[in-house]
Amino acid sequence: MPNQVSDVNNLLDSLYLELLDLIEQHTECRINIERINNAGQLLLAKTRYNQGSNSISTAQIPTENSEDFKALCNVEKELDIENTIAGEKKHLIRHKVEKSQGYVEPLHWFAALPPTTLRNATEYFKKSVELVVQGANIQTELLAVMDKIERLKQIKKQLVL
């Protein structure tokens, strides 16, 4: 079956290129996460510097005894067989702040009017969470590509023999 051999070879070629591309994307994603986390942490430090180290106590942070609240963002899996090799994709879902439904804004634990540096820091960390999801997507794709390459190699071996 010469036709199928060339098909397998072409697929392997494109899979290899995809693999390299994904590795690049993955490193880029990680660099971005690092950069954004750094910026966020710097802003957090700045808020602490501006407000003094004694302005926040553990009493402001919810403990086990305080009321329950729901997470503001969730990760959902979605099947996508046509566009991805792994066959699935993760999405980040953000909920609006609604006190009656249990979605609490964590910024308001610290102050009714949070300083701009703290607000900017949360923006950075939100972005970083999105990037983490993106990185996870790339990683699953990468693993799938590696798995497919391994299986195609076996097929190729069988066909050549």
């Binding site: 098909d7 072409n10 390299l20 490193t27």
Partner: protein, 291 residues
């Protein structure tokens, strides 16, 4: 010693094996053109290829449908691990690199190369696929750049560390060495003196404000004659305020001096140095005079 920096160039590089290089050398006349990076690489080897402007524009993604079809139609029995490691070792032995010249290709170059190989295959010139060639090459992942520490900073750190260690040593040997027993900063008298001078400054402030108030409240009545109680109070407070403002300025100035004691110490050291040098000069002059 160095700190790790973020990755500057996220591109991955592929170290080209001799097999791949041979194919490029052999068939370079067949290529319609090459990306700039490849052209630059080939120039020193005496190979001229026309430059292509569009870099890998015709790249198509993976045909997922075909991939899934093939995988579904062919039953794959995954072989034992020992076998695969063996074959990998063989490959590593097979892969040979030109050690004198290390040539790296980027991803866009590889895309171009895969297309070029495709055209070569359609012409029937070669029957080689990129995946066979890539297995002979090695992959270089992007690395973090390390920042070397500034030697000036290092020297400064060393000096500070030495100072700290000296202090600790002195504290430790205080009981043994009689000369160090009366280390001035540890005695109660020294601390009492420091507190005293601050207390005096604050008390001075309070007394002068009280005196100012007393002058406005009683003194002016004595000079002018009978005055309304409200007016007396107002005069007293006004005079006390004016004096308080002036005093606060001086008090702040004085208390600030206690805060940056290190600066004052430095100033004192500089003063001593400045006063020492002229004395030395005088001595020399005197000696000269005697001679």
């Amino acid at each position: 010693m160095g700190t790790i920096d973020t990755i500057k160039d996220p591109r991955i590089r592929v170290k080209v094996s001799t097999q791949l290089l041979d194919i490029i050398k052999k068939h370079h006349t067949e290529f319609a053109g090459a990306p700039k990076h490849v052209v630059d690489l080939l120039k020193p080897m005496g190979i001229r290829v026309t430059q292509l402007d569009n870099n890998g524009n015709g790249y198509k993604g993976v045909d997922v449908k075909l991939l899934n079809d093939i995988l579904a139609n062919n039953e794959v029995t995954i072989e034992s691990e020992t076998h695969t490691t063996k074959s990998e070792k063989e490959k590593e032995e097979k892969a040979s690199f030109d050690k004198t010249k290390e040539i790296y290709l980027y991803l866009s170059d590889l895309r171009w190369f895969s297309q070029a190989l495709g055209t070569l295959r359609s012409k029937g010139i070669v029957d080689v696929y990129l995946n066979d060639l890539l297995e002979t090459c090695s992959l270089e992942l992007p690395k973090n750049a390390t920042i070397e520490r500034n030697p000036e900073l290092e020297a400064r750190c060393q000096k500070l560390r030495l100072e700290q260690q000296n202090l600790e040593y002195r504290k430790m040997t205080k009981d043994v060495d009689a000369t160090l027993k009366n280390y001035p900063e540890d005695t109660i008298a020294y601390q009492m003196k420091a507190i005293n001078s601050q207390l005096v400054a604050v008390l001075q402030f309070i007394f002068s404000v009280a005196a100012g108030f007393a002058f406005g409240f009683i003194g002016i009545q004595l000079i002018v004659g009978n005055l309304d109680f409200g007016l007396r109070l107002l005069l007293g407070i006004m005079i006390a305020l004016i004096i308080a403002l002036a005093e606060i300025y001086f008090l702040a100035k004085k208390l600030n001096e206690y805060d940056n004691t290190t600066e004052t110490v430095n100033k004192a050291i500089n003063k001593i140095k400045a006063s020492k040098t002229p004395i030395l000069n005088e001595e020399i002059q005197k000696k000269l005079h005697v001679e």
